[in-house]
């Protein structure tokens, strides 16, 4: 082993307090980034997951101008013959008002988003049905699933209650139907249909006077990474139709744009934290240098060059960086593992979608290692500036 590395190691390990302090500074810097990533990227991914699972699928097909007039079943069948496609389902959306008499009092809620679904296909392509906390998913033409917020605003609608839904059809006429509440939907974090009502798509088509028309086709893939490829294949296969096909990133861009910039800011704060840990290293190493004035003087007097002294203290920075990066990464991975295994959520909000981003994990470890070395440069330089005769005066 190079004597400078041995000396750097011994000097550092014989000052355990300083070593622990410096390593902790690096560790905390890394841990802050990991925790930020788990929480904020996890929240972002959870939102993407729920948008994909409940609303947009991995690919969302709409019509460029209005509603899709082509048979929804033919489009669903077209998609389902592709091996990467798990399922596809049509959706139709509108808004309407609901009134219901509860305990002798009439409650009315207006501008409720109404979603029409094909129950059988929807249960294959979407996980909205899993958000039913009470009752069942839409199963007949006159059944309605209320979002938990809508049910609450209607005075506490329950499964089995009867209510009236009014929408305005394509010709501007009011269309009123009576429905029976068959289920209440409640998704963690309210990302599902908590503020909507779900009915059978054919009933909604009738009410809207849009027979055979579809608002969108939601396509769920076995392998989401193939979304772009399948989307392009779909558009190429229907050149004469005015279809718009978007991947989840494209269709949810507006909803996600704010989150993206938020995450970028949080990441920056994390890196500022890492930067401040570099200042801690500078301070601790300056203390180490000051505490080793005598040794530096002795080394210089027996022939060590400035370069040798510089290397010893840079080695110390490398040791601090390596141990700190190792411990910090291990702690960060431990936290990530815990968050993933426990499906971490805050105040019963949506569970975080935790993933191991190895590229970022390695980048964070390398950055902190590099920062530790950079932080050691100034103390190392100061050490080289000690004149042997000055250092020996302290002897």
């Amino acid at each position: 082993m190079d004597y400078r590395l041995r000396l750097a190691k011994r000097m550092l390990f014989n000052k355990r307090g300083s070593l622990i302090g410096a390593v902790l500074a690096v560790t905390i810097g890394i841990l802050v980034i990991h925790v930020n990533f788990v929480i904020f990227q996890g929240l972002f991914d959870a939102i993407v997951r729920d948008i994909s699972n409940y609303n947009n699928g991995d690919i969302l097909v709409t019509d460029e101008e209005d509603y899709i007039e082509k048979s929804d079943l033919s489009i669903v069948k077209w998609f389902e013959r592709i091996p990467f496609v798990k399922a596809a389902t049509p959706r139709l959306s509108s808004s309407g008002s609901i009134n219901m008499t509860a305990f002798g009092k009439l409650n009315e809620q207006t501008r409720i988003p109404i979603v029409g679904v094909d129950p059988l296909l929807d249960m294959k392509a979407s996980t909205v049905y899993t958000t039913i906390s009470d009752g069942e998913y839409v199963f007949s033409r006159n059944s309605i699933v209320l979002g938990s917020s809508v049910a609450r605003d209607l005075g506490g609608a329950k499964v089995g209650d009867s209510l009236k839904l009014k929408i305005v059809d394509r010709y501007g006429q009011d269309e009123i139907r009576r429905f029976v509440v068959t289920g209440i939907a409640s998704a963690p974090g309210g990302q599902g249909f908590d503020y909507s009502a779900v009915v059978h798509i054919d009933t909604l088509r009738d009410m809207m006077k849009r027979k055979g028309e579809t608002g969108s086709i939601l396509v769920k893939l076995n392998d989401p990474s193939k979304a772009s490829e399948i989307k392009d294949f779909f558009l190429a296969s229907f050149p004469n139709d005015k279809f718009v096909a978007e991947t989840i990133e494209e269709s949810a861009e507006q909803q996600l744009a704010g989150f993206r910039s938020g995450i970028a800011m949080i990441s920056m704060i994390g890196y500022f934290g890492m930067g401040s840990s570099a200042f801690a290293i500078v301070t601790i190493q300056m203390m180490l240098v000051n505490g080793k004035t005598r040794e530096i003087g002795v080394m210089r007097s027996i022939g060590a060059k400035r370069k040798d002294i510089l290397i010893i203290f840079i080695f110390q920075g490398m040791i601090i960086g390596a141990i700190g990066a190792g411990v910090g990464t291990a702690a960060g991975l431990g936290y990530t593992f815990y968050a993933k295994e426990t499906k971490m959520s805050f105040n019963n909000s949506l569970p975080l979608e935790v993933s191991y981003n190895w590229e970022k994990i390695i980048q964070t470890a390398l950055t902190s290692f590099g920062l530790a070395i950079i932080a050691s440069l100034y103390p190392s330089y100061r050490a080289t500036k000690l004149l042997p005769v000055e250092a020996m005066r302290n002897v």
Binding site: Y3, R10, M299, R300, S301, I302, G303, K305, R306
Partner: protein, 234 residues
């Protein structure tokens, strides 16, 4: 015998303008190879300053210092470091071992700095045997007694076979028994290795018979140590 050290008109002035102190004033002398020389003088006389100049730890304000015929005045910092490593051996008052290293590693250190590891461990072991401390080699340097540490310092000072061994009050921190052992060790090493030893001490009598004594008084160098017979070295 050849001259191993030549000091010509060396003056060292500390401070600036009116706040100056002349630590050495036109000091000139030379030392032959293999001589055992004592540098004596009262506290503040300039003997440690002289040792720093000879050890190239500090530069003279004016004058020249030649070691092994090489003028050290204009050497770069790197060259001075190499020069110190190869030509000079240091023994300090408080031994100044690197406490983070073992006894053996301390002795090896100058050789490792030189980057010539060939036979280093064998040489270090031989030196440690010669100073009688071969049974302590794996101990941390701060776990041995002051006398033992000083022996290790002697071994470290000799490992690179320097032309001149400089010792600054090598017995100053030791009890009389240990001091006597160190004095005898230094003398025997000088005789055995044929190297030049320059010892700065305030206790002339501890060293008994030596080849030569140089007295530093008020920044001037004098041959001899008898107050009435001091002869200015020019």
């Amino acid at each position: 015998m050849s001259k191993v050290l030549e000091i010509n008109d060396v003056t060292k002035i500390y401070g600036e303008r009116e706040n100056t102190v002349t630590a050495l004033n036109n000091v000139s002398f030379s030392i032959e190879k293999g001589e055992f020389v004592l540098v004596v003088g009262s506290s503040g006389s300039g003997k440690s300053t002289l040792l720093n100049m000879i050890g190239l730890l500090d530069r003279p304000t004016t004058g020249k210092i030649r070691i092994d015929g090489i003028d050290t005045t204009n050497l770069s910092d790197n060259k001075i470091s190499s020069f110190r490593n190869k030509k000079l051996g240091f023994i300090f008052q408080f031994s100044n071992l690197i406490t983070d290293l073992t006894v053996f590693e301390n002795v090896l250190l100058p050789r490792q700095i030189a980057g010539t590891d060939y036979s280093a461990e064998k040489d270090a072991m031989e030196l440690l045997k010669a100073v009688g401390i071969e049974d302590q080699i794996n101990k941390r340097a701060n776990k041995i007694s002051g006398g033992q540490a000083q022996r290790v310092a002697i071994a470290r000072g000799l490992i690179n076979k320097p032309s001149i061994v400089l010792a600054d009050e090598p017995t100053g921190n030791l009890d009389s028994v240990s001091a006597e052992i160190i004095v005898q060790l230094l003398k025997s090493m000088c005789k055995k290795l044929g190297q030049t030893f320059i010892i700065v001490t305030h206790d002339r009598h501890q060293f008994g018979e030596v080849d030569r004594v140089i007295t530093i008084k008020d920044g001037r160098a004098f041959e001899g140590d008898h107050p009435s017979k001091l002869e200015v070295l020019v």
